[in-house]
Symmetry: D2
Amino acid sequence: MGTAPRIDTSVPTLGPCKVDNPLPYCHHIDDSSKMPLYLSSEILDGATSKNVYEFEEAGPRQKIYFDPPKTKCAIVTCGGLCPGINDVIRAIVMSAHHNYHISGIYGIRYGLQGFIPKYKHDIMELTPDSVRDIHEFGGTILSSSRGPQAPEEIVDALERMNISVLFMIGGDGTMKAAGSVTEEVLRRGLKISIIGIPKTIDNDINFVTRSFGFDTAVEKATEAIRCAHIEALGAPGGIGMVKLMGRESGFIAAQASLALKEVNFVLVPEAPFELHGPDGFLVQLKTRLEQRQHAVIVVAEGAGQDLCRIDNQVDLSGNPILGDICDVLRSEIKKFFAAEDFPYTLKYIDPSYIIRSIPANSNDRIYCGFLGQHAVHAAMAGKTGMVVSKLQERYLYLPLPLVTAKRRKLNIYSNYWRSVMESTGQPQSMFNCATKA
Amino acid sequence: MGTAPRIDTSVPTLGPCKVDNPLPYCHHIDDSSKMPLYLSSEILDGATSKNVYEFEEAGPRQKIYFDPPKTKCAIVTCGGLCPGINDVIRAIVMSAHHNYHISGIYGIRYGLQGFIPKYKHDIMELTPDSVRDIHEFGGTILSSSRGPQAPEEIVDALERMNISVLFMIGGDGTMKAAGSVTEEVLRRGLKISIIGIPKTIDNDINFVTRSFGFDTAVEKATEAIRCAHIEALGAPGGIGMVKLMGRESGFIAAQASLALKEVNFVLVPEAPFELHGPDGFLVQLKTRLEQRQHAVIVVAEGAGQDLCRIDNQVDLSGNPILGDICDVLRSEIKKFFAAEDFPYTLKYIDPSYIIRSIPANSNDRIYCGFLGQHAVHAAMAGKTGMVVSKLQERYLYLPLPLVTAKRRKLNIYSNYWRSVMESTGQPQSMFNCATKA
Amino acid sequence: MGTAPRIDTSVPTLGPCKVDNPLPYCHHIDDSSKMPLYLSSEILDGATSKNVYEFEEAGPRQKIYFDPPKTKCAIVTCGGLCPGINDVIRAIVMSAHHNYHISGIYGIRYGLQGFIPKYKHDIMELTPDSVRDIHEFGGTILSSSRGPQAPEEIVDALERMNISVLFMIGGDGTMKAAGSVTEEVLRRGLKISIIGIPKTIDNDINFVTRSFGFDTAVEKATEAIRCAHIEALGAPGGIGMVKLMGRESGFIAAQASLALKEVNFVLVPEAPFELHGPDGFLVQLKTRLEQRQHAVIVVAEGAGQDLCRIDNQVDLSGNPILGDICDVLRSEIKKFFAAEDFPYTLKYIDPSYIIRSIPANSNDRIYCGFLGQHAVHAAMAGKTGMVVSKLQERYLYLPLPLVTAKRRKLNIYSNYWRSVMESTGQPQSMFNCATKA
Amino acid sequence: MGTAPRIDTSVPTLGPCKVDNPLPYCHHIDDSSKMPLYLSSEILDGATSKNVYEFEEAGPRQKIYFDPPKTKCAIVTCGGLCPGINDVIRAIVMSAHHNYHISGIYGIRYGLQGFIPKYKHDIMELTPDSVRDIHEFGGTILSSSRGPQAPEEIVDALERMNISVLFMIGGDGTMKAAGSVTEEVLRRGLKISIIGIPKTIDNDINFVTRSFGFDTAVEKATEAIRCAHIEALGAPGGIGMVKLMGRESGFIAAQASLALKEVNFVLVPEAPFELHGPDGFLVQLKTRLEQRQHAVIVVAEGAGQDLCRIDNQVDLSGNPILGDICDVLRSEIKKFFAAEDFPYTLKYIDPSYIIRSIPANSNDRIYCGFLGQHAVHAAMAGKTGMVVSKLQERYLYLPLPLVTAKRRKLNIYSNYWRSVMESTGQPQSMFNCATKA
């Protein structure tokens, strides 16, 4: 079994907690009582299913660090939209107000831009009344933006506004920014808690089994797949192609294909493939069309990047700009089938912005409610430099470095992926070398 | 008032009806009793709201032409998908079977290709059992294809298969093909009834107030607009752009904009616009963003074709290939805002195939049910060269030439269009000359 | 053909219009130019399809009666919920504000109670901002109540509040109240316009082809029917029973049965039936179960009232309290099948409050938008004692007495009803005498 | 910490596995390698969060017991409907056919009745083609029934039909029946595998974190709650009451209340309450109405049974017949508010059969897919007397006695329940004694 890899699961705090938690009737969580969990290698490189790790359990503490009537909080939402952001905002506001009676909650508008004076964005005061119905709408009432801002300027703004707690809802880049802001706060000797709530529709956050909004996204993605299937059935040589989110991990593509078993090819970043040759994608597609007259292809946006030749460019968030694999596929399909004189009809659906912007479903809504509540419990107890996570059905507090260390990916040697392959019927590999092996 | 334009509303028949209609408890419609309707100029060029025309009312006749036990029918579906096709198929099968007890109903597969031997498409036998649940699925169980086939070959196939009635579900091109087939049948002296059920998701069929599937399409289109709105709100300078169907008429774009009042610009083929200059679209868009920080744009695919420079190409169905106006808009917006140094974020949604391929909603489902039933009543009474239409809440039988004479278009001088403009708040015209007028 | 019945279609006005309509780019409607329509006997007793009547067309007038900056409006919503009320409110507010720039719009809370001081209900000021998103929610933001209030007290309140226009959204009783209020206004020589927007989920308003919310209600009702069908299929001798709205008219039950063709029995107020005897409902139900092992029954709440023995009681709105026909059916089914020793399982669904309280679909939303706009156009032109209606695809202004004269009912001798019967397969009559006839 | 309670987690088998698993590319699970899990006291009485237990991991085994070409399977579905049954059936058929190529799969119709000759129910042959689209429909294509049948007769039927594997999908009673059938098989020395897939919409199965269909049910239940809220807002003193499933456990009521935060009172079986007295439900309800003019009440059907006085009757499945708590509440509310002269309007929604009979959502669909696959893997490996379960995100094989030992219940001292209480704002207890404590 070898030696289990070591990780630091301890969460930083601003100092000892001396204030009584005002929360009534509460089953308080004791910091010293750790939650043991078995981690598999999919969560932690090198771990086996027998390695136990101890984590801080999320929840209200008996004593808290901040004195609620003197505490102001701020919330900022960064990066692309994802179902459930408004639910998290709502839960933070409701919990901070009703459980802790804190003195003010402020919404920073347009992401980290909202901290920077030159952008001249307003601040929103958030109250139970102003957030009452926001969960019925997708998106974020605070708006968002991409890209980093200087941690110094952010902490300047927090100081100016007299903020004790900053809740940062965002993706990988935002969690890294949260780390820099935490450090800058520490450097200045300030007592400001920085709490991250990781958001990624790609579901690729390390140490988070399922990121919020993912379940809603999969549900909505199946609608597009159903339509692609109907379109494929509706024409001779019908091909329905659906592009789904997934820059580095194919979770949505895989999960949606399991949910609606009409998919014949799932292309994900974790499983490279060749286009040409006897085992390549194009021949496989033609074979499928000859046998069944139609085909449904689901493509994660980050699939087949080796086939897309893009210079090393990054977007505002610092993510590499992806080549458009669906463009490549469509033009290669066109050339290949023209050469083969094989008539086909391709219908292409890109539902990304329809998926990202819908309200959360019940499952995600409940999840977001707990994420928001636990973020407030953590903040009030003076924890900082951490995120709220759900891992194996437990809500946990994790130090920021754990979740930003790497991106979670599909294990293409797992029985999960095998089930995906089975449900599509596609070959285990679309590499020409594969047949010779 | 001038002279009312004259039109021929009489429907051809194969001959006198001598067989008793087996339909029990029926309120039979008498051919000689015409349905008078006032037609406006939007339906008939030159007509005023005081001009009365007489039409054949749809419904069962007391005597029918074909002897049911000796009658075989065929159904073919052509062109693009549209919600409700399966409902029409189902209604034809159920009515032919349960009302008239005809001897066989056959589904021609893959559109008009299905008649041509070289394509080797199978024929499907259609029974109440085989069509029982098809209304729960979008698309067409018969599949479809684009493009004409020789009327002679189609009539050859009808003769070979001993078909007495052919139901043709399709768009403008299919209705013209129905006319050619009717003529070829007449030329050969055959007794085959050709009945059209016009299908167009663009809702641009002449003498049809609302084509089937349109209501469902509008409902689904509003979902995409809602998402575009949420995306636009979610970023600084947020623009949400939605491309909707509408090659020559902007009905879906207009109706969906009325249904979800978040749209700020509706661009339709009937209302040309300029991009540049003080009254052009780009300046208007910038003004909107300055005032409200976000904008939602709905574009009918046929809008602004003068701005798209495409050679005169046609697709398989004979329709001109449209330039991609959204491509033009996006690149012009990029150039313009770059020149103005105005930051923006544009999210583009093309929901076309998601809209076309969903099942019909209740409203369309009921409508399709009546279209199918009335098609069977017409066929059994020996009518031919006609379509079933719903005009001003009456089901009518119309001769084919009436509906193929021209495409219906939005009247941009109507109070309907004024309501659309009001709900968007966009200027009445985006022509620079307009300001001088 | 006999003599056509005469009706008075003229709409009262408060006086001559002298103020210019501020609406730009408008296709103004001229009062003197009437809209001719053919009315059938289903709309007007004794009319034939050849009788033409002339109506006032809805829309903006070139000159208006009220001076907008001096005009205050009020809106009240009465009776039960119905999809689309918020859309009508929103359209009135938006049109009054943006088109006419009137000085204030007030929402009367909790129906007519809101006018009566003793109830102490607040008044809501309605602005474009406060109504912006209300169409995304069902119900009415003003709340509602049942029952009449003295017209004198209502007019007292209008005088006190200095209201020039009252928009009344409600059912039959509310339209009658609108009549009394109009008379009281007239008696006092006041210049207050009373405009009704008829609301009835039963779709039984005279001279209104389809009342707002009806289409949404039918769509939602089909969901319940689908569930009843699945439940019926899921057990031996499975019976699924769905109770739908329809106190005196079975429109929803009939329409929903057409939309989802899984219904085997539709019971409506217009078609009485017997329970017992060889042709009665119970024997028919047993026959169906023997043949197909399951049955779906849709019951309009007002069906079979002769079987329910209830004293002559009325509810707060003055409507007779109905006997619970589904209670009777269930207990009679229990007795009958017990006596026959025939095992069955009955699942009963009453989706009424789920149907009434959902947001309007796109179709109804657009409809409500026009109703609200046309109500404002009418009011500003000084019309009173009238309702806005849509008849044969035209928006019209009708005097109140036309719509309160009688309730619209299903014609059970029409081809529409025959189609319903065909889709269910139920016998044309469930009267024992019927067989002998 | 005390002594950890001991449980037997070993799964019985029919004998040693000697046949190669035909499944390609597979990550085989080794029987001897156990999956360790920490169990809390909510799963196992007396366990603490530090007690580790070892379970059999679900999945394909390298060697299997049955020889596929000689193996016939049967599937039976028992008890009430629940979203996802068809998905489980589909997954079993697909996996048995495509993974193991077994020789025949048979559907037993109408639950355990289907085994008993006197009922004369047909057997359905199940093939990939016949189950292809069944996941798009709710219910069970096999139909179901309630109540036990003699294990001897069931095993007689299995012998007659030459069945090697029986998959039993059903609730608590069915799992007990599975135990009896397993014993009868053993008694006769037969080699028939009995595999249970526990089904309960109440989510109260022991050792199953979330039963299939539960997530779908919660999502649908929130729709009814939203409607109840709108109805409550729509009338003076508006009360919306929703009855949800939950005979002995309030999971759906609690979860749905968390998902849609409009609920003011959640009544569940685990938390008894008093109606009268200063701390009782009725006074609390009145207080809420006085403060906010409306209230939403969610009631699990098994709540407040001490208030319902029903004799000890049981239904066909052997479950106690519950008193109708909503009847009691409605009549007590009527009496109480009449006595207090407090006007109110109560709208009551019972969505049970609408919730049970819808198709599964994506989340449940994927879950059901894995349950079905793992059931087949277990069966082919000769396991018997067991169920497939998902516990803390792992699919496990559990011996039948573990899951039938007791029903899972809400822990009303947990932070989960506290979150429910917080989201409703209802008092922690509605016992009069509570105030004195």
